[in-house]
Homo-oligomer: 316 residues x 2
DNA sequence: TCCAAAAATGTAACCGGTTGCACAACCGGT
DNA sequence: ACCGGTTGTGCAACCGGTTACATTTTTGGA
């Protein structure tokens, strides 16, 4: 592998000039830049990230922290963050870890010494813990907001509220919400948004909490029927899947008997029409998070931004 | 952050001795080791991975290459690899990329210069391409075998064959196999294994290829019924899900009318019993791959191992 | 007790970039 | 022709570890 020395030698300049020609062209005579670039090209020179990291005091590594990977919700977010990271010249490492135990805390502290920043998903952690972790290195919170920490969220609360309003507009007067994991931030926000949206206009039954799995749909089926709801808003698509399956098994037609919300992929998978979908663009969330983080890392005066990406509600 | 110099000074030894005391204790007097360790402890010293990487000429980074993250099949594999990597002192970075285009090739070449090794999943790529990529840096192939490259696979072909035999033993004489993506290595192997297992004992209809999505299950439903099969072996659980759903919608009972294979999680999700599950332990696959790779990276004389993890067939 | 071999430690070079500082080249203005 | 000021380049230190080699200390056998 060619080093900067080789390039400098071939271009007939010093290592310092070669370095500047490639990294800070504004300091170098155009003619020289050209020669250095050419030399780098013919040698197939790629600067060593390691050497650069050591010299600059930054690693070029960003850690994305997720509580687990089972929940396929995170997959597109990771993918988006990865793509964006690559474009910005960073490496993304995945760390599967909660923030609950003190050993988690220790691990995060160690990790912080090895990366430039965190992309943090921690739907269930206490806010104090999040703030402590966020203070270690520049951090962007994903799918959650906390004062003093930049964050990117898909604005699903608004989408859920708007769906609730849609239901009312279509004549539903009894609506159920099947909640996600207890203590999860998105679930809290959604519950709140739906409650506010239906205040005084329709009857709301909140069920849950439930883990975001198809099993939950089966479990909750009876309660949904008993609630008398004609429209159901579901925290996450897997629950929807299970519920729709269970309803059909019970002879309740969807969406004619009961309308159940889902997402685009799920309704395609179940080959069912006439139901509303709430689609979070995970790729965009991931990209935006990484973008915000790189801005933070490269800006001399970091600001705290809270980004909210719109979430469409779509009737199939 | 404390450096090795600080530790050495506090312990009253040279930087070199401090380094050795921590990294290669067998070269240092026990008494000295103790003093150095103590000094490191009180200073909270963590060696800089970057500096170490530069000195050692290895980055401590391993890239896991996956074609996409939508397919949730990879999630547990990644998680397993990540956990193992952490234990072995490596960082794992995820790279979402196929190997088809020549720009992919270029990207892999660049990536190879920045990491110590690859964990490569490439079910559909040509073997020549895989060999070219595998030649760049130490590589472990996941869920695929190729001569000359170490690999870890879950032995699902054997599981599928054994399931086919189970079906015959239970009296089925007409069996269908719904294949996965065309040209995918695991699909080829499974098809082959099933075909061999049923040779002369039962009638086999091979359907497909299909993408591993629930939609495929709907699509294939009619063909399954027409084939007259009473037992169906399915490439992947999502297809199973769609198929079972479609069959029920058509009034065919599962498993009494037609037995459809799935996996544990799916049959739990669908709350259905009496069907066989083929469960790949993705976590174990991920762990084993990373383990093999670290052995490769640290062994002076790398050998080519092909690891096959057993895959259980389980009747619920 | 003495000496060669083994064990423990220190010195300094090295990994491959970046960057502060000194110096040289070049500019337009008088 | 002379000079202050800008631009472009080179020298060398530095980031924080590792390790070859030299040097010192310890050990054990004669």
């Amino acid at each position: 592998m060619a080093t900067l020395d080789d390039v400098a030698q071939l271009a007939g300049v010093s290592k310092a000039t070669a370095s500047r020609a490639l990294a800070r062209p504004e300091l170098v005579k155009p003619d020289t830049i050209l020669r250095v670039r050419q030399a780098a090209g013919t040698l197939g020179f790629e600067p060593s990230r390691i050497a650069r990291a050591l010299a600059r005091g930054r690693t070029g590594l960003v850690a994305m922290v997720v509580p687990n990977l089972e929940n396929s919700f995170f997959a597109p977010i990771i993918e988006g963050a990865q793509l964006q990271a690559e474009e910005a010249g960073y490496h993304l490492t995945i760390t599967v870890r909660g923030l609950d135990s003190s050993s988690d805390q220790d691990a995060m502290e160690r990790l912080a010494g090895q990366v430039d920043g965190f992309l943090l998903t921690a739907p269930q952690a206490h806010e104090t813990v999040i703030r402590r972790v966020g203070a270690l290195v520049p951090t962007v919170l994903i799918e959650r907001e906390a004062v003093g920490i930049p964050s990117v969220i898909a604005d699903s609360p608004t989408a859920f509220a708007s769906l609730a309003a849609d239901f009312v507009r279509r004549g539903h007067t009894s609506i159920a919400y099947i909640g996600g994991p207890g203590g999860s931030w998105p679930n809290l926000m959604r519950t709140e948004a739906i409650t506010a949206a239906l205040e005084g206009t329709a009857n709301l039954t909140v069920l849950g909490p439930f883990p975001p799995l198809a099993e939950s749909g089966f479990e909750v089926c009876e309660a949904v029927i008993n609630s008398g709801a004609t429209a159901v808003i579901v925290y996450a698509a897997p629950i929807s899947l299970g519920l729709m399956f269970a309803l059909k098994a019970r002879g309740v037609s969807v969406p004619d008997g009961i309308v159940v919300s889902g997402d685009e992929r799920m309704s395609r998978a179940m080959a069912v029409g006439g139901i509303p979908s709430i689609d979070v663009d995970g790729l965009a969330v991931g990209r935006a998070s990484m973008q915000l983080l790189t801005r933070l890392l490269e800006s001399p005066t970091p600001t705290v931004d809270q980004v909210r990406l719109p979430v469409p509600v779509h009737w199939s």
